[in-house]
C-alpha cells in the first residue's frame, strides 16, 4: 500500500515557480545528461592522459579512462538527480554494455590482423593456393626478404591434407553419430543405457583436442606394433592421415550426436504414429519419415561439426606429421593440414634468419582457413533456414 502511494505522489507535484512540466518525467534526469557526462568524461580523461603519459599521448589510455569516468559520472549524476536504486540500475546497464564492447575488441582485432596480413600476400602471389613447399629452401626466403624476389612455395599440400583428413573423419563419424542419435531417440526411450550414452557423449565433448590426438596415436601405434611389427619403418607408419582422421572423429562424434538428437526430437510424433498406423516397419519409418523430416537440421549440424574440426591443429600435429609435398593418400605417409602448416611456418620458419616470408605464407593460409570455416558456418545456417520443416500447429 505504501509503495503505491509513494510512486503515485511525484506525478501530482507541480514544479515550484509555476513553470509547467510533464508530470510523468518529473524527478527524472533530463535527456541530455548523458551527453554532458560524456563530454565531461572525455575532456577530463584527455587531461589525465596527458598528465600521466608525459610527452606521448595514448589514445587507448584516453578512451579507457574516459569510459571509466563516464560510467562513474552517470552513476553519480543519476544518484543526485534521481535516486540510488535507479543509479545502480544505470550502473549495471552501462557495465553490461561495456562487457559487450570489450568482447568486440579482440574479435575485430583478430579479423583485422588476419585480413591486413593475409590479403595483400594472397593478392600479390595467388600462386600460394596451388603450389606446395616442395623444393623451397631457406635461400629462397632469404632472397625474398633481401632482394625482393617473389614469394616461393604455397600451401596446396595443406589444403589437400585438410580436405582428405576432414573427409575421412566425416565418413567415420557421421554414421556412428547418426545411428547413436537414432538409438537415443527411437530405441533408447530414456533407459539407463541411453542416459549413460548421453552423459558420456557430453563428457566426450570436453575431451581436450590434444588428448584425442594422443589417443589416436596410441591406438594406431598399438595396432601396428601388435599386428605388423615394431621396426622403425613400422613406427613411421603410425603417422598418417587416417590417424588424424580418427583423432578428429573423437572430437566430431559428440557434436554430431547432440545436434542430430535434437533434430530427431523435434520431429512430431504424429508423423511416426501415422506411419506405424499404415503398417510400416519401424526401420522404414525412420528411414522414410523421420530422417527426411529432420534432414535439414542434421545436414546443418554435420556441417557445423566439420567446420569445428577443420580448424583443429593439435590432434593433427601429433598424428599426421609434417611434410612439404602434396600427399593425397591418407592411408600412407605423412600429411600436412592447413592449421598445422600455419603453426609450423610461424614456429619454425623455413629460413630462421629470414622469418618474414614464412610469416606472410602463414597469414595468407590463416586467411584462407578462416574463410573456409566461415563459409562452412554460413552454409550450415543457410541449410538450416532454407530447408527447415514447417512447424506443426501446436
Amino acid at each position: 500500500m505504501t509503495i503505491s502511494n509513494d510512486t503515485a505522489a511525484p506525478q501530482r507535484t507541480s514544479v515550484p515557480g509555476g513553470k509547467k512540466k510533464n508530470s510523468l518525467t518529473a524527478g527524472q534526469k533530463p535527456g541530455w545528461t548523458w551527453i554532458a557526462v560524456l563530454a565531461g568524461a572525455l575532456v577530463v580523461a584527455a587531461g589525465i592522459t596527458a598528465l600521466l603519459g608525459g610527452g606521448s599521448f595514448s589514445w587507448v589510455g584516453w578512451l579507457v579512462i574516459a569510459a571509466v569516468l563516464y560510467v562513474l559520472g552517470m552513476y553519480l549524476a543519476t544518484r543526485v538527480i534521481e535516486n540510488s536504486r535507479r543509479a545502480t540500475d544505470g550502473l549495471w546497464r552501462n557495465l553490461v554494455w561495456a562487457a559487450f564492447l570489450l568482447a568486440l575488441i579482440p574479435l575485430i582485432s583478430v579479423l583485422w590482423t588476419v585480413a591486413a596480413n593475409g590479403l595483400p600476400t594472397l593478392l600479390e602471389t595467388p600462386q600460394l593456393l596451388w603450389r606446395d613447399m616442395q623444393g623451397v629452401t631457406g635461400s629462397d626466403d632469404i632472397a625474398t626478404q633481401t632482394e625482393g624476389a617473389p614469394l616461393a612455395g604455397g600451401f596446396l599440400h595443406g589444403l589437400v591434407g585438410t580436405l582428405m583428413i576432414t573427409l575421412l573423419a566425416t565418413i567415420i563419424s557421421v554414421p556412428i553419430g547418426l545411428l547413436t542419435s537414432i538409438y537415443l531417440v527411437e530405441y533408447g526411450r530414456g533407459g539407463w543405457f541411453s542416459r549413460a550414452i548421453v552423459f558420456f557423449v557430453d563428457v566426450m565433448t570436453g575431451i581436450p583436442s590434444i588428448v584425442a590426438g594422443l589417443f589416436a596415436f596410441a591406438a594406431v601405434q598399438l595396432v601396428i606394433t601388435t599386428f605388423i611389427g615394431d621396426g622403425p619403418r613400422q613406427l613411421q607408419m603410425v603417422k598418417m592421415g587416417l590417424s588424424a582422421a580418427i583423432a578428429l572423429s573423437v572430437l566430431m562424434i559428440p557434436v554430431v550426436v547432440r545436434s542430430t538428437e535434437e533434430m530427431l526430437r523435434v520431429v512430431p510424433n504424429e508423423l511416426r504414429e501415422a506411419s506405424y498406423a499404415l503398417g510400416v516397419r519401424k526401420w522404414r519409418t525412420i528411414f522414410k519419415v523421420v530422417l527426411p523430416t529432420a534432414m535439414s537440421g542434421i545436414a546443418s549440424g554435420v556441417t557445423l561439426s566439420i567446420a569445428r574440426v577443420t580448424g583443429e591443429t593439435a590432434p593433427i600435429l601429433v598424428t599426421a606429421g609434417y611434410i612439404a609435398t602434396t600427399n593425397w593418400n591418407p592411408f600412407d605417409g605423412w600429411m600436412t593440414a592447413l592449421p598445422v602448416y600455419i603453426y609450423r611456418q610461424l614456429i619454425n620458419p623455413t629460413a630462421p634468419a629470414a622469418a618474414d616470408p614464412s610469416a606472410e605464407r602463414a597469414w595468407a593460409a590463416a586467411l584462407v582457413l578462416i574463410v573456409i570455416v566461415m563459409l562452412l558456418n554460413l552454409i550450415a545456417r543457410i541449410v538450416a533456414k532454407a530447408f527447415a520443416p514447417k512447424k506443426t500447429g501446436r
Binding site: 536504486r85 562487457a99 556412428i176 563428457v203 601405434q221 573423437v250 559428440p254 601429433v318
Partner: protein, 322 residues
C-alpha cells in the same frame, strides 16, 4: 473354438507381410552398436593412454630404464606443467566470466531483439575462429600490446610475487596466454549462460517488475537465483576447454621452468603446449612421458566436465524449466 482354427492361417498371412522383420532387427542392432562404440571409444581413450604411459609412470617395471628422461620421477616432471595449466586456465576464467555473463545478460535481458540476434551471431563468429589463428594473433599483436602493461604492473605491483621478477620484453608470458584463452572461452560461457538466462520463468520477471523493481533489481532477484547452478556449470565447461586448449598457449608462451611470476618470458609451461612442442620429435621414453602428461590432462578435464554436467543435470530436474 473356431477362433483357434483360423488363428494359424491368420498368423501366416501376417507373417507373409512381415518382410521387414530382419531389417528391423538389423537396424536396431546397428543403432545399439553405434551407442556401444561411443562408450568403447571413451573407455579406449583412457585404456590406450594408460598403456602407452606405463613406462613413464613406473619406469622400473615397464621399461629398461630406472628413471624417466626429463626428471627423476614422473611427478617431479608433471607438477610444474599441471600448475602452469591450472594457473593459465584460472586467469582465463577470472577474465572471461564477468564479461561473458555481462554479454549473456545483454543478449537475454538488455538489448532489443533487433540487436540481440546479430550480437548472438557475432559471438558465434568468435567461437568459429580456429585456435591456431587466435594463437598467431596472440603471438604477434597481443603480446606486443601487453609489454607496457607488464612494465607498469611490475613497477607498481612488483611486491606481489605474481608480478615480480624481470618483466618481459616480448610479452610472451603465461598471463598473455591466459588473456588469449579468456577470449577463446568467452563465446562458450556466453552461449551457455544466455540459454539459461532465457529460461528464467517469465512470470517471476514480470512479478518483480510489477512490484516496482528496476531492471537490475529484477535481474538480481529473479534471473541470478534461477541461473546460479547453470552459471557455475558453464564456467566449469569453459574451464575444461581452457585446460585443454593447445595451440593458443603453444604459440604465445615461451616456455620454461615453473615460476610464480606471470610476467616473465621463458617461465612456466602447460601440459598441452608441452605435448605439442615436443611430441612430433619424441620417441621411446620421451613419448611415454608426454602421453602420461596427456593422461593427467585427460583425468583433470574429465573430472571438471563430469562435475559440470552433473550440476546441469541436477539443476534440470529441480528447476521446472523443462
Amino acid at each position: 473354438m473356431t477362433d483357434t482354427a483360423t488363428e494359424p492361417s491368420r498368423r501366416t498371412s501376417l507373417k507373409g507381410s512381415r518382410g521387414g522383420e530382419a531389417g528391423d532387427r538389423v537396424f536396431s542392432g546397428l543403432a545399439l552398436t553405434a551407442g556401444i562404440v561411443i562408450l568403447l571409444v571413451l573407455a579406449f581413450v583412457a585404456v590406450f593412454l594408460l598403456i602407452e604411459s606405463l613406462p613413464a609412470l613406473w619406469p622400473e617395471a615397464f621399461s629398461d630404464q630406472d628413471t624417466i628422461e626429463s626428471a627423476d620421477t614422473f611427478w617431479q616432471y608433471v607438477w610444474p606443467l599441471m600448475a602452469g595449466t591450472l594457473i593459465a586456465s584460472i586467469i582465463a576464467i577470472l577474465l572471461a566470466t564477468p564479461v561473458a555473463v555481462g554479454i549473456a545478460l545483454y543478449i537475454s535481458h538488455y538489448a532489443p531483439r533487433s540487436i540481440a540476434t546479430p550480437v548472438g551471431y557475432v559471438i558465434d563468429l568468435l567461437a568459429a575462429i580456429p585456435s591456431v589463428v587466435f594463437g598467431a594473433w596472440g603471438m604477434t599483436v597481443l603480446a606486443g600490446a601487453m609489454v607496457p602493461i607488464y612494465a607498469w604492473l611490475n613497477e607498481y605491483l612488483g611486491w606481489i610475487p605474481l608480478f615480480g621478477g624481470t618483466p618481459t620484453t616480448t610479452g610472451r608470458t603465461l598471463l598473455t596466454s591466459g588473456v588469449v584463452l579468456a577470449v577463446m572461452i568467452l563465446p562458450i560461457i556466453t552461449s551457455l549462460c544466455r540459454e539459461i538466462f532465457l529460461q528464467t520463468p517469465k512470470l517471476h520477471e514480470e512479478a518483480a517488475l510489477a512490484l516496482g523493481a528496476t531492471r537490475w533489481e529484477m535481474v538480481k532477484m529473479t534471473v541470478f537465483p534461477f541461473a546460479r547452478a547453470g552459471i557455475v556449470s558453464s564456467i566449469m565447461l569453459g574451464l575444461g576447454r581452457a585446460l585443454g586448449e593447445t595451440m593458443a598457449v603453444t604459440l604465445v608462451l615461451s616456455p620454461g621452468i615453473f615460476s610464480w611470476s606471470l610476467i616473465q618470458s621463458g617461465r612456466n609451461a602447460t601440459i598441452p603446449s608441452e605435448i605439442a612442442l615436443n611430441f612430433p620429435e619424441a620417441f621411446g621414453m620421451r613419448q611415454s612421458e608426454l602421453i602420461a602428461a596427456g593422461l593427467m590432462l585427460f583425468i583433470i578435464t574429465l573430472a571438471v566436465n563430469m562435475v559440470a554436467r552433473w550440476i546441469v543435470s541436477r539443476h534440470k530436474e529441480f528447476s521446472g524449466a523443462n
